[in-house]
Symmetry: C2
Subunit: 75 residues, 2 copies
DNA sequence: CGTGAATGTAAAATATACTTTACATCAAAG
DNA sequence: CTTTGATGTAAAGTATATTTTACATTCACG
């Protein structure tokens, strides 16, 4: 109990394509980040900072805990 | 439009004291961080990572977007 | 075919979060 | 008064996120 492994996956790419017509570059500009950051985050290379996560969710019109799926340890 | 200044404030201390009897050290242990990190985050010195934010919200039984208040630019 | 927009990879540099260690203060309890 | 738990500050080091720059690929379009 009390294991430490948690994971976060995001649905940015899906939501970006489904609900907007923003390119990665356009989304990057709107959230005040670079294209590289969006590419890396969408590719699940690493999780964004909390602030960037909020900004992306805000621009995409999704709740942060729907856009980013947190998986705590279940055992 | 598209200003970049956003802020994040958290209600960790309030929720921790109101809904649990966890000390900062106990909370730190439960979320897999150090006491220093909890102190700094509660003191609004910096925002935690997205993963740590999720873990804290999970342990405190609050939604992440209620525990952390995001303020986008309004102009 | 040739051009441009969109996506991707890679590496080095910078910024920020997090840890580790050490020490200080205060209130509650023996 | 002394000890102990909880909270706080500070500084150095490590880990991770983000930027910057450069180049490659694919696809729609003239």
């Amino acid at each position: 109990m009390g294991g430490k492994k948690t994971t976060i996956q995001n649905h940015i790419k899906r939501v970006r394509l489904a609900r907007t017509d923003l390119s990665q570059a356009a989304l990057a500009e709107q959230v005040g980040a670079t294209r590289q950051t969006i590419i890396a985050v969408e590719a699940q290379k690493y999780a964004p900072s909390l602030e960037l996560a909020f900004r992306i969710a805000h621009v995409l019109g999704e709740r942060i805990d729907e856009l980013f799926v947190f998986s705590p340890e279940w055992n």
